[in-house]
Amino acid sequence: MGQFLQMVFPLDLITLPFMFHALLSGTVVAILSGLVGFFVILRGSSFVAHVLPKAGFAGAAGAVLLDINPLVGLVVFALGGALSIGMLGKRGRHDVVTALTLVVALGTGALFLTLNEHYATGAYALLFGQLVGVSLSQVLDTVVLGLVCVLILGVLYRPLLFASIMRDSAEARGISSRKLEMAFLIVVGLATAVTVPVVGALLSFSLMIGPAATARYLTRRPGTSLVCSVAIAILTIWAALVLGYDTSWPIGFFVSSISALLYGVVRVGASLQQRRVAGKTDAHVHPLDGVVGQK
């Protein structure tokens, strides 16, 4: 048993600086994804959360081509994608604009990769997440950007909840749902930019959707759901980082499969529980008994 534990959790998990960095920035990324994911699901904007990481990927590829910090490219492109989706969308409906953002991003990303012939391994890391090579300065970037996002979400919490649930009533109370939407998209863009280097562009939105979707089955209170979502996201990324270290398989694979697995288990559990409750209360006489179906 002890041997097995040592195999899964070798001591160098925390003594190796890159692993410590990865765990640290992974935690920031998870907190952010859990919070943003709650609102992404509430607003039905999963598609946006899927597209912005791809925009960020193109930006990072471009930044490498220009030999600047990839995070700059990530932020610029993810924010650019968010702003264009927000400005071109109409009253909360923006799936066409989002789809176009996706194809433009993927096309540009393909071009940048082709122009930069020596970047194949880097591109692989950007797409599927990487463990090694997270430097301390990258961790600091993640922490700062993450704090900014958490702060914005904290300030916008109530009006964003209000406008996401009932847009008309919120507007009648003086909330500008358009400005809120722009602010939220910017937060999703920034959150994307810090998530992509750790989890990878292709699968980073699984960390936004999975934990928040799972948390919906655990509680009926919005605040508690938010906390559960963050907790599940943190557990997911920690497990993924440890398993990624043990196996050297991509982090993105572990994040997506763990979050899907958790979602499945919790959902089945919730529906079993519901069936049990329904079985107890469903013993009354049907109102149409004796009216229809008599022979």
Binding site: R158, M166, R221, P222
Partner: protein, 279 residues
């Protein structure tokens, strides 16, 4: 003596491009009055509501609430939307939804307090929603959700309650209960009620006046004067009959030739099937 009007619309004109949607509308509503707003689709009902709410500035004219001219959105007006679209799994209880009416427009995170809870409980009790206040909103029936929406609108102590087609998704019983509830709240709290409806039947016996809109023009009248076959038929440009059965008034749309035959034979009763949708 001059009557105090809680809501006055003075000479409101709204144009979208070349089209005049509201054409010199003058309306005055007293405190505690229950007004049914009716009119065919496209008559400008929603536009009128948006003007009253301050979400749309009219090209001409002014809205006065409690004697004061309003341009901006205003706490004295409570708004109840038609329906709320939520997943059954959305983590939001009835009391969370209602609480948004208290402080949902403020920045930051809501902090639980005894006072906040007491305020929310008070309005939940007023609409008889305490028993399902802790259930997820997405799993409640249309009538239960409507009660929560009304409770939410009450939290600002409004002088006017605007309800945008609150009955359109409700069954006969829930529709009557919602109308009775709104009527009672209006009288008890002195709130003027403007309720948009396509089916007038649940409102009859509760509303004081009818405000009807057609082709951008508005007229307000006593219920007996407006709920007449000729008046409604002209308003909708379609045959509408007002029937009086067992001391009750029913509004029925269209003409059924078979029903005419039954009428000629005489003595046919509708029984209790009194909700006949007009189109």
């Amino acid at each position: 003596m001059q009557v105090e009007h809680v809501l006055e619309l003075n000479d409101i004109v709204v144009q979208f491009g070349q089209r005049t949607v509201l054409d010199h509308i003058d309306v005055a509503i007293e405190a505690g009055e229950f007004v049914g707003l009716i009119g065919p689709n496209g008559a400008g009902k929603t536009t009128l509501l948006r003007v009253i709410l301050g979400l749309l500035s009219p090209n001409h004219g002014e809205v006065r609430v409690d004697g004061k001219s309003v341009r901006k959105r205003n706490r004295a007006i409570g708004y109840v939307p038609q329906k709320i679209h939520l997943d059954p799994d959305t983590p939001l209880r009835g009391r969370d939804l209602v609480g948004l009416g208290l402080d949902g427009h403020r920045f930051g995170v809501p902090l639980p307090s005894r006072k906040r809870r007491a305020r929310i409980d008070e309005v939940l009790e007023a609409v008889d929603a305490l028993r399902f206040a802790d259930a997820p909103v997405g799993r409640l029936s249309g009538g239960e959700q409507q009660r929560l929406l009304i409770a939410q609108a009450l939290l600002t102590d409004p002088k006017i309650l605007l309800l945008d087609e609150p009955l359109s998704n409700l069954d006969i019983r829930s529709a009557h209960e919602v109308v009775r509830l709104v009527g009672r709240l209006g009288k008890e709290r002195g709130i003027a009620v403007i309720l948009v409806a396509h089916d007038m039947n649940p409102l009859l016996g509760h509303m004081d006046k009818v405000l009807y809109l057609a082709e951008g023009h508005a007229a307000m009248g006593e219920v007996d004067a407006v709920i007449q076959s000729e008046v409604l038929s002209r308003l909708y440009g379609y045959e509408v009959e007002v029937l009086r059965v067992r001391g009750r008034v029913l509004v029925v749309g269209g003409r059924d030739e078979e029903a005419d035959v039954v009428d000629l034979l005489g003595g046919f009763h509708c029984g209790d099937h009194e909700d006949v949708m007009n189109s």
